[in-house]
């Protein structure tokens, strides 16, 4: 039995320790906001936070997450009101939307570590998240907007 905390809720799962964390999140716990893309850490669709870091859950064994804190897109904010989520809605970033939960989770780590990123920092942080629809310009714009919203609200970075 492996114990892990997902979105502040403790789960005990009876799975192979080598099972990818993504499988546990989606198929065992039932949180399907995190997406399967490539399965080999190349696209970023499966990004979740493991102790605050943007890990690729498709190649992360659940044993690495044992007794650790995981946040998925469902837990990014209580009311879907993280500055990034607000900015994403305001700028209407997604097209098909498949990659967007991974994009948001990566962007959240960027804003936490660099509350006012310039374009170079955004590129450095987001270069591992692919978008087949090519929403990159809107993603960059929305991250700048989220940085403004975060500053206006005087919120601590998430």
């Amino acid at each position: 039995m492996i114990r892990l905390t997902v979105n502040q809720k403790t789960h005990k799962v009876d799975v192979d320790p080598d099972m990818p964390l993504l499988w546990v999140i989606r198929d065992i716990i039932g949180l399907t906001g995190t997406k399967y893309g490539c399965g080999v850490a190349q696209c970023g669709a499966c990004v979740v936070h493991l102790n605050g870091e943007a890990v690729r859950s498709c190649v992360t064994k659940v044993s690495r997450a044992a007794n650790q804190k995981i946040v998925t897109i469902e837990g990014l904010s209580l009311h879907n009101d993280h500055p990034l989520q607000q900015a994403w809605a305001e700028i209407d970033v997604p097209q098909c939307g498949y990659c967007q939960s991974g994009q948001l989770m990566s962007a959240a780590v960027l804003l936490k570590e660099n509350p006012q990123p310039d374009d170079a920092a955004i590129d450095a942080a987001m270069s591992g998240n692919l978008c087949r629809c090519g929403t990159y310009p809107r993603i960059r714009k929305a991250i700048h907007r989220a940085a403004e919203l975060q500053q206006e609200a005087g919120k601590k970075p998430f």
């Binding site: 850490a41 890990v55 780590v109 920092a121």
Partner: protein, 213 residues
């Protein structure tokens, strides 16, 4: 003209100091050997200088260090390399201050503690990283002369003493080059052969090949 009444005292001090230094050197260097203390259980570094043997051993070492499994994480730029053709790492992850990446693009986000199954999937190690930004320890583009000099210089080698260099051949990330994950070529000799060449190079004085042979 002022007279220096302290001259005899100073002369005595200088002579005494030189004698002490000579005694210290005599203690440290015996019969052409230089010894460095080694932690218990580790190979001890006793240097017997032999420039010809040293250079010959380093040229073997150089072939390993310039192989993709070593050089790909010692790039001349701030993006690691990939593949046997040393192309820039896809996604262009950045070195970062500590060598462990930046923001959502940290090495350990994809590189797990162990290799990921499957061809060309991310290789794993618990300590995956590049050299830090303040000491990049570049291998890419270095000649044998340049690389040997760099490795022997504590200001460019991570502040390592010769004894620590000797032990570095057994570092977990160095050894990982011989377990690179599916679909990747191995360094051009076994780890045991590498350790032998590395040890020979250091124990014969860590000489660098000529700049322009």
């Amino acid at each position: 003209m002022p007279v220096n009444h302290n001259l005899p005292v100073r002369t005595f001090s200088v002579v005494t100091g030189l004698f002490g230094l000579f005694a210290l050197l005599s203690f440290s260097i015996r019969k052409g050997h230089i010894e460095q203390d080694a932690p218990t259980g580790h190979d001890s570094l006793m240097i017997v200088k032999d420039s010809a043997a040293s250079v010959k051993a380093f040229l073997e070492v150089y072939n390993v260090l310039m192989s993709p499994r070593c050089m790909n994480c010692h790039p001349s730029g701030d993006v690691p390399l990939q593949g046997d053709d040393n192309h820039l790492h896809t996604m262009l992850p950045q070195r970062g201050k500590d060598g462990k990446g930046v923001y959502a693009m940290k090495c350990a986000n994809c590189h797990q503690p162990t290799n990921t199954p499957g061809e060309h999937t991310p290789p794993g190690n618990p300590n995956w990283h590049l050299p830090p930004a303040d000491m990049k320890m570049v291998f890419q583009g270095k000649t044998p002369h340049e690389l040997a000099k760099q490795i022997m210089d504590p200001a460019q080698n991570g502040n390592k003493t010769p004894q620590q260099l000797l032990e570095h051949a057994h570092d977990g990330l160095v050894v990982a080059a011989w377990n690179p994950g599916e679909g990747r070529t191995l360094p051009p000799m076994t780890h045991d052969a590498f350790v032998k060449a590395w040890t020979t190079w250091l124990k014969t004085g860590g000489f660098a090949p000529q700049a322009n042979p």
